[in-house]
């Protein structure tokens, strides 16, 4: 697998999401409504060697993508790792108008952002029951905002990965990975809350190499079914693992957190949310000391 950036800036703080405290998330959300604050933090991160960011198609992603595209330094030297789809948006919409209409409306967006043929092809595959073709077109529609950007890898959101995993729809993982690799020439990765179960499923499908992103920290926070089993799974041959929630939502001091992560040579990249310059300074130093 191609080498990925060592440090990926996480999108949550910049999008106002804090899994431990909605109040803190809201404070960050208000701060980064200001485009200058976003530009400032992206440029600072870049100056410290953080030249990549993971992001979903949250409404604020477009603002960030515009900043990167127009910035004289960032535009040629910043890699984006899209995360598809932005599940919250679809959950809200499908509660209102049903899932079929959500997919139909989404295909309609291709008419404006993509091309008429994409829309027609998507609609005919949806109506005709060509499921995998529909999935590929939906991926392409979600990828439209990223078309002028340098890509590192593309990830499927855990909301969808874990649903497909539980429902036994695991062929969707092959379809996703193969389409991303073929069309976008980057690895297709999976985000999950259930690493051991996912890897067992991929093994049964004959996968020999995996790109997986998941919560990983020494306290076992957000890790299912157990830290012990997840550690064991990480050591499998062919594993490319990107940890997130490394600080366990602030419960582990950064030094301790990255020393722990550093014990796993399978970890070559890490995703970490950073919204303050002092935090960037400290985190970058610690990651460079502990992850080779």
């Amino acid at each position: 697998m191609k080498k990925l950036d060592k440090i990926l800036l996480g999108h949550n703080p910049l999008f106002g999401v804090d899994h431990l405290s909605q109040a803190q998330g809201n404070a960050k959300d208000q701060k980064f409504e200001n485009k200058n604050a976003l530009t400032d933090i992206l440029r600072y991160a870049h100056s410290k060697g953080v030249k990549a960011m993971m992001m979903s198609t949250h409404p604020r992603a477009q603002v960030i993508l515009d900043i990167i595209e127009k910035d004289p330094v960032l535009k040629d030297d910043f890699t984006v790792y899209p995360l598809l789809p932005y599940v919250v948006k679809y959950v809200r919409a499908s509660n209102e108008k049903g899932m079929f209409n959500v997919v139909k409306d989404l295909l309609g967006q291709a008419g404006t952002g993509g091309s008429l043929s994409m829309f027609m092809s998507g609609l005919s595959s949806l109506v005709g029951g060509n499921l995998y073709k529909t999935i590929k077109i939906l991926i392409d529609i979600e990828m439209l905002p990223f078309k002028n950007h340098k890509l590192g890898a593309v990830f499927m959101h855990d909301g969808l990965v874990d649903l497909a995993l539980g429902l036994g729809c695991d062929e969707a993982f092959d379809v996703f990975r193969d389409h991303i690799e073929k069309k976008y020439s980057v690895p297709g990765g999976l985000i999950t809350k259930n690493v051991p179960m996912l890897v067992d499923t991929l093994d049964a499908r004959g996968w020999e190499e995996y790109l997986i992103m998941a919560a990983f920290n020494k306290t076992g926070f957000y890790i299912n079914p157990s830290l012990e089993l997840t550690e064991k799974t990480l050591k499998k041959p062919g594993m490319n693992f990107i940890p997130m929630s490394t600080l366990a939502a602030g419960a582990i001091p950064p030094q301790e957190a990255f020393e722990y992560i550093g014990q796993f040579p399978e970890v070559k990249s890490v995703v970490v949310g950073m919204s303050k310059k002092s935090h960037i300074d400290q985190t970058v130093d610690l990651i460079n000391q502990n992850i080779r």
Binding site: G16, V17, H19, L20, Q22, G25, N26, D29, V88, V91, R92, S94, N95, E96, K97, G98, M99, F100, V103, G129, L131, G159, D162, L163, A164, L165, G166, L167, G168, C169, E171, A172, K193, N194, M197, T219, G220, F221, Y222, I223, N224, P225, S226, L227, A248, A249, A251
Partner: protein
């Protein structure tokens, strides 16, 4: 010999139907063999990707064609009772998404049928399975707080800032607004903690919705003599996810429970609980589950239902518990329509 897995049927393949289907299909003791949904999407694509799952247009057709050990009912609220009655008449255990029904009157035939044929049954008030609220229950039951003086609860989410679309916002199918939808989680937690409610005074307000409430405030008297109030709205800002909070004032201290923390203060130590402040964060409360899809609370809930089927046992919370919550909600609407006059739970 390896024991055969319990065969689960899913009624209604909306978001909650999908989440439960994914959990039941991956638990070691169960598998999903059928889904019932009159809409072809997403049922047909699901069947294409997992051919072991058969799709039916009605519960009746599913039960005629398949052997089913348990059913998950996640249809729109207005259809809950007819689906559940079909299960009871066929001796099939069921787990029903909350709330129980459009109103208690609609639910009465199910209660009567269950008295005659008490198949394992459960209602989906999943907040009981959130780690922090479980811990809260232990503290309250320990008596550490001393005599409870009063209790207040809030539930807020940023969901609706214009007229909503879909069945949730149509009172003929949903039965009500935020009080019936999210407020009932809070009512269930307080009922679980402090027992049945005797009387309510309620006030509701519709700002964005027609015929259902966006804001509700309820003053309640429990049968135990305890008094409390709740406030619920789906139209407050900066609540990305539903946020439940309960504050309890006791003679020996305070307890504040939220979705991801437990904050206890005691004047004097009681049993394992020390004097002063004890704070448990999401991190300390977390424990891994077999599979996490949209939160461990749903996994715990589905495991409890599987246990009830295997042991032919009752569950927490049962349909009977859901019936009490439904009567509280109905009484709140009655009170609100009479300018907040007190209404006794029948």
């Amino acid at each position: 010999m390896k024991q055969e897995k319990l065969k689960i049927g899913i009624i209604g393949l909306g978001r909650m139907g999908l989440v439960h289907a994914a959990i039941f299909n991956s638990l070691p003791e169960s598998e999903v063999v059928a889904v019932v949904d009159p809409a072809l999407f997403p049922a047909k694509p699901l069947q294409m990707m997992n051919p072991k799952i058969k799709v039916f247009k009605s519960i009746d057709k599913m039960l005629k064609k398949m052997h089913i050990d348990g059913v998950l009912i996640a249809s729109p609220v207005g259809f809950h009772i007819e689906n559940a009655l079909e299960c009871v008449r066929n001796n099939i255990p069921f787990l029903m998404e909350k709330p129980l029904a459009l109103n208690a009157e609609q639910a009465q035939p199910l209660i009567d049928e269950l008295k005659k044929n008490p198949v394992p049954n459960m209602i989906g008030y999943m907040a009981r399975n959130i780690d922090s609220f479980q811990e809260g229950k232990k503290i309250i039951d320990s008596g550490a707080l001393g005599k409870i003086i009063n209790v207040k609860g809030t539930v807020y989410v940023s969901q609706l800032f214009k007229q909503g679309k879909g069945w949730r916002y149509d009172p003929k199918i949903s039965g009500g607004g935020v009080l019936e939808s999210q407020g009932s989680h809070l009512l269930d937690l307080l009922y679980w903690y402090f027992g049945p409610v005797k009387k309510v005074n309620a006030d509701i307000l519709s700002v964005y919705s027609k015929g259902i409430e966006d804001f509700s405030h309820v003053v309640m008297d429990f049968e135990s003599g305890l008094k409390g109030w709740i406030d619920a709205s789906w139209s407050v800002r900066f609540k990305r996810k539903m946020e439940l909070k309960i504050d309890i004032l006791g003679e020996n201290g305070n307890l504040a429970i939220s979705d991801d923390s437990v904050d206890l203060f005691l004047d004097s130590p009681v049993g394992d609980y020390k004097k002063g402040k004890t704070y448990l964060s999401a991190n300390e409360l977390f424990s891994g589950v077999h599979i996490d899809i949209s939160g461990a609370k749903f996994t715990y809930q589905d495991q409890e239902f599987i246990r009830a089927i295997m042991e032919k046992d009752s569950t927490s919370p049962s349909i009977h518990d859901g019936f009490h919550i439904q009567k509280i909600v109905d009484s709140c609407y009655e009170s609100a329509s009479n300018d907040g006059a007190p209404v006794f739970i029948k």
